[in-house]
Symmetry: D2
Subunit: 209 residues, 4 copies
C-alpha cells in the first residue's frame, strides 16, 4: 500500500512500545508535516540524547553524563545519602521512576530489563540475572561502597509474568543468604472489595493496620 | 412511549442496583415472555424468600430462618467456632461474602449499610453507626457471648466515599478504646507499578514481606 | 455458599437479560432490604402486568389490553393511519421501539423473536419464520386489512448472527415475490473513517447524497 | 524529575499523535536502549524519508518522489485512469488511505488538513479551504487536466467537529455551482439497532435497499 521508504519507517515505529501499525503510520505523516525547524529540533534532540546518555554500570539505569566526565555511576548510585544496604530490583526504568516518585524509598536500584513468561533458557537469558548476582555478591567491584546488602526488594509487577520472574529470582538469589522481600499486596486506592480477587483480599486482611 | 402499567414496572426495575432504563425495559419484556410455569416459579421464589428471610439482630446480615424457629442470629453469629473477639465492619452484604470466600477471616461481621460521601447529618444517619456502637459496647445484649472485642476491622472500600466513612468511624469509635484497623493497601494481583498511584505504591513498599 | 432459597432466586435472576451471578446476588439483597410497601408495590406491578398483557396476534409485540376487551391486535396493528403495505421485521421488541422513536416509519412490524447463528434446524425453529410467512401470505387472516405487502424491510442488526438470519429470511421469503430490503449501511453519527471497516465505508461512499 | 535533555525529548514525543507523557517517556527509554545499528537505521530512515518526500501540489497528499525528478503531483493525481470529474475531500492523509482500501473510489482527493470545532477565523484558517476553492475553480492551474469537477464528496467524519466543518464547506463551495455530497449514514457492520442514535437509524431506514 505504501511506498517502500514510508513502509520501512512505519515498520520501525511499530517496534516502539505501545505503537501499532495504524499509530506508526500517523507518526510518519506527523514527521512529514513537521516544519523544517521542528523536524530538526526533534532530530537534534534525539541524536543529542544518544550522544550524552550513559548506562549506569551498577544499576543499568540510563543517565545524562556531564560532558567531560568519566563517571560511570548514575546520580542515584553516586548519591552518598542513599541507603546502600537496600537494593530494589525493578523490571524497567519507568518502574524505578514510579518508586522514586513515592519518596518512600532511599536505597539503590537494579533494572532487570524485563520479565520472563516461561522458564525457557532463551527468555531468562534476556534478563540481567547474572549481572544482578555479580552486583549483589561484590557491590564494590561496581563502584558501590557497601559491605553487603541487607535486603533485596523484588519490586516486580504482580502479574502472571512478574510472579514467575519473582519466583525464579527468589530461587536464584536464595543461596546468597540475603533477606528477599516482595511488594505488599492489598487493595489499591479506589479499589472495591467486591471486585478484588481472593488472594488480594486475603493479603489486604492479613496486612491490616 | 410505554403504556402506564409497563412504564410503572420499568420505573421500579430501574431502582434495582446497576439497572438503567434500557435494561429495565428488557427485564419487563423478559417477564412478559416467560412461560406461565417459569413466571410462577420466579414469583414464588421471590415471595418465599421474603417470607423466610430474617435480618440478624447482631450483624444485620440477612439469613434464611428454619421455618418454626425463634432464632434471631445468623449462622455466622451463632457459630460457636467463630472468633468473637474480632469484628469486621463492611459496607454491604456482598462485601461480607467476598471476605468469607477468602476463608482467611474467622471473626464476626457488622453490615454498616452504605458509605457517606459527606459529613452531612442526613447522610450519616442512613448508616447503622448508632447500632454499631451499641453492639461494640454490649455485644451480650445482642446475643453474642463475648466479653469484649479486641479489634474492629474497618473493611471499607478504599474509594473516596469509603475513606471518608472510615475516617468518620475511627473518630466515633475511638472513645471505646478498642484497636481499630483498616485493610492493607498495596498492588492487587495483576496490577502494575507503572499505573499505581503513589499512595498505593508507598503502601506496597512499606508492606513488603 | 448461599442457603438454597437464596441460591434459587439468584439462579432465576441470572436468567434475566444482561444479568450475571454477581448482579443477581445484588438483586436478591435489594429485594430483601426493600420496605414492605415497596416490596408489595413491585410484586403487584409484576403480577398486574402479567394479568393485563397480551401478545399481538399479528406482530407478536406485547401490549396492555383494556380490561374487558377481546382485542387481539396491538395499538400499532390496529391504527388505521399506519401504512399497511410496509412490513418491518425486527429481532426483538426493543428494536421495534428504537424504530418507533425515529418517527420515520409508519408501517407495520413483525417481531421475529431472535436471530440464528447457524442454519441448524433447532436454531431456526426458535424463530417465528413460519408465522412470518403465514402473515405475509394472508394478512387478513390475522386481522390486518391489506391486500398485499409491497415491501418487507429486514431491520435485523448487521452483526454476524443478524446477517446470517437476513440471508436465510431472504431465501425463504423470495418465493413470495415481494420486494425485500435491508437497512442501509454507513457511518453512524460520531463514527470515524479511520476506524470504519471497508464494507461500511464502501456502503457510505455508495450511499452518498 | 528528568534531566533536561531527557525532558526535552519527552516533550517533543508528547506532540506526536496519540502520545501522552507516560508513553513519550517510554519512547525515550526505548531509543536509549536501541543497539547502535538499530538506532542508526531509525535515524537514517527518518532523514531519508524527509529528504525524498514531496507534498502533492494538487491534493496535498505526501508521496515519495523519484530521485531526479521534477514531478509535483502524487501518483494518484498523475494516474491517467483516475476519474478526474470526482473530488473527494478528506480531513487527513490516513482517511485518504482508508478510502483507497475500499477500492470503490476512483476519483481524486484533497487533504483538508483537519476539522474546525468552531467558526472562529483562527480555526478555519488552519484548514486548506482557500487552496480547495482554487483547485476546484481551476484544476488545470495545478496540473490536473479536467474541464470541471462534476461532484465534490465531503468524506468528513460524522463527528460533531466534522459536521461543523462539512456545513461550513457546503456554504463556501455552494457558489461554485457543483454538486456536493456527503458520505451516507447508517448502521456500521456489527452495529445494533438498540444502541444506534435516532438520526443514524433514520438514515439507515431511508437508505434501505
Amino acid at each position: 500500500m505504501f511506498p517502500p521508504k514510508i513502509q520501512k519507517l512505519i515498520d520501525l515505529f511499530s517496534k516502539f512500545p505501545t505503537v501499532g501499525r495504524r499509530t506508526a503510520a500517523r507518526f510518519v505523516f506527523y514527521l512529514i508535516k513537521l516544519s523544517k525547524n521542528d523536524f530538526e529540533e526533534l532530530l537534534n534532540s534525539i541524536t543529542d540524547l544518544r550522544k550524552n546518555i550513559k548506562i549506569c554500570s551498577f544499576c543499568f539505569n540510563p543517565f545524562v553524563a556531564s560532558t567531560d566526565s568519566a563517571e560511570k555511576l548514575c546520580p542515584i548510585c553516586c548519591n552518598p545519602s542513599r541507603d546502600k544496604t537496600l537494593l530494589c530490583v525493578v523490571e524497567k526504568e519507568t518502574d524505578l521512576l514510579s518508586i522514586e516518585k513515592t519518596k518512600k524509598y532511599n536505597g539503590l536500584y537494579f533494572v532487570l530489563g524485563g520479565t520472563v513468561s516461561s522458564l525457557k533458557k532463551s527468555d531468562i537469558e534476556k534478563l540481567r540475572i547474572k549481572e544482578l548476582k555479580e552486583r549483589i555478591k561484590n557491590p564494590s567491584n561496581f563502584g558501590i561502597s557497601t559491605n553487603q546488602f541487607q535486603e533485596i526488594i523484588l519490586a516486580i509487577n504482580p502479574t502472571t509474568e512478574g510472579e514467575a520472574t519473582s519466583l525464579y529470582l527468589k530461587r536464584e538469589l536464595k543461596p546468597l543468604g540475603i533477606k528477599i522481600t516482595c511488594l505488599g499486596r492489598g487493595l489499591p486506592i479506589g479499589g472495591e472489595l467486591e471486585y478484588a480477587d481472593e488472594e488480594t483480599l486475603s493479603s489486604a486482611l492479613e496486612g491490616r493496620k
